[in-house]
Amino acid sequence: MTTTSSSGPAVAVESISKRFGAVQALSGVSLAVAPGRFVSLLGPSGCGKTTLMRIIAGLDRQSEGRVLIDSRDMSRTAPHRRPVGLVFQRYALFPHMTVAENVGFALRLRGADRSATQARVQELLDLFQLGQFGGRSIDQLSGGQAQRVALARALADSPPVLLLDEPMSALDLKLRQAMQLELRRLQKQIGATFLFVTHDQDEAMVMSDEIVLMNNGEIVQQGTPEEVYGRPRSLFSARFLGEANLFSGPLRREAGATLLDAGSLLLKSHAAAGFAATRGWACIRPEAIRIEARSDNKTERRPNAAAGRVREAIFQGAYRRYVVELDGHSVLVQQPAGSDAAPTFGEGDRVDVSWSESGITYIEDADNA
């Protein structure tokens, strides 16, 4: 069990910038991670997430800004004096040591006594279902086993903060999905703060208490998976996390409602009172769109509804997806399959699509990402 000495954030970075020669890898990143949270740094490759993690570990030195771990300024502290563990993407297991020697490395360094080290190593090996692998050399391990050894090694000395650099990327899909749940359970069990670097949005959503979405060396949005997915604040957020139907046009206010005029479509929401821009985008997630058989032949424009024709119908097991051709737009619709109540449609069917006001998120036009 790990504890922190104060109630402040387990890890905080303040205005961190990092330049590699002419390349600006991070610009003015600030972030606070509360103790015991599972936080994902999510973003496309090259967004600076790994650099930020390496700066927190002390493996790279920030050009500007401060790093605080457990409220202590560790901006200039050498990596071996920082109370953080790190699981490397390629695991970086020591090839000249057995599995048990790898796991016990931090304890031996600290000078822990032999029997205590052995007991702790065995405890970790058992925890990761590696009980009988202690004497193996590391080149006899499968990818999944090597990853668990890397985790066990990083956790051996109970660091209050564990950094994980895309540790699942080398595993196949099934194993990855199993490990995601296992890792999340483990984190809740030991109570340490996990900072997880990934470019995989599904992985981030499955595991995280909080997602920190990064792009171009900056934090774009931060919040729970529900917040970041449900209320994207930029086109980048809307597109990077999940799929989005996006409509652009001028915005106007009318009796407490905000309306976006996208040509043949009119979007209307009462839930965007604070949104002041005069042009912008509306984001609607595919599962927020209802699809029904065409009920009449009315053609006048109604808010939050449109008539169209199914261009593609795709069955995906748990879902049915439709690409519906509207007048000048096309939308992606996703419905749960398997429910008897939901009617199904084929290509060429004439349909009505509609959505509720709460399914609309307005995004300012400033972001052209």
């Binding site: 071996h80 920082r82 953080v84 790190l86 297991l93 000249h96 490395f105 360094l109 090694r153 990083a154």
Partner: protein
């Protein structure tokens, strides 16, 4: 693919001729070091160990052998101290200056040793350093350093740099990380390279001759005695040096076969 009988015979013959060409002269030297006749000529007259007894009893030869060992060991230690850090730079950094540095490190391999020896001799003279075992060691380091640097850098390039970072995040200071992770991984390459340096230094003649001043090493003694004809003592010294070299090579092979643990 299978080979015909004729090509197998041809290939076997070729191999035997090649091996004979390489090793017959050495075999002759060793053979005559056991011949009681006193001049290196057939027919063989009868085995004796007296030349070996003479070699071992001769104080000048013993002194020269000791000098050879001192120079070889000194050269090897200096190469390891200087060369290890150079090997890391060459293996771990990518820049035009590193490439230039690696090129300069390799240069002594290409220069004629006689020329290097003459250059060192006039250099030591011009700055007023008296010739001794020390100057010979400097000369040997100059020539053997590339062996060590490039053998080691090839090994270091094969080690994931993240291993040191992993050690650091697990609480190892840079010195501890080197001692517990990097050094064990390069140890066998380092010993192998060091033995190459030893073997080379023991054999070196021209640079030793020009930079050692009034002292002797075994190759210099051999050269001196050769001027009076091929004596059985020279054969005995040579045989002993061949034996020492073979032993070193066997150790190198044994280490190269070992996995890095």
């Amino acid at each position: 693919m299978t080979y015909g009988r004729a090509s197998i015979i041809a290939f076997t013959t070729y191999t035997c001729v090649l091996l004979a060409f390489l090793f017959a002269p050495i075999a002759v030297v060793i053979l005559f070091s056991f011949d009681s006749k006193g001049i290196a000529a057939f027919p063989f007259q009868g085995p004796t160990l007296s030349w070996y007894q003479a070699v071992i009893a001769d104080p000048i030869i013993r002194k020269a052998a000791l000098n050879s060992v001192i120079v070889a060991v000194g050269t090897t230690l200096a190469c390891i101290l200087i060369g290890t850090s150079a090997a890391f730079v060459i293996a771990r950094t990518r820049s035009p200056s590193t490439t230039a540095f690696a090129g300069l490190m390799a240069l002594p391999l290409l220069l004629p040793h006689l020329l290097l020896g003459i250059a060192l001799l006039s250099f030591f003279n011009s700055i007023g350093i008296g010739l001794s075992l020390w100057t010979a060691i400097i000369g040997h380091v100059l020539i053997t350093l590339p062996f060590l640097v490039f053998t080691l850098s090839a090994r270091i390039a094969g080690i994931d740099p993240q291993l040191s970072e992993a050690a650091a995040t697990l609480g190892a200071s840079p010195a501890k990380a080197f001692a517990t992770v990097t050094l064990p991984l390069i140890r066998s390459a380092m010993i192998g390279a060091a033995l190459l340096v030893v073997a080379w230094s023991l054999d070196e003649f021209s640079v030793s001759f020009l930079t050692i001043g009034s002292s002797n090493t075994l190759p210099i003694i051999i050269w001196g005695q050769m001027r009076a004809g091929v004596s059985p003592t020279v054969n005995a010294i040579s045989a002993l040096m061949v034996l020492a070299t073979i032993l070193l090579v066997c150790i190198v092979h044994r280490l190269a076969d070992l996995k890095f643990r």
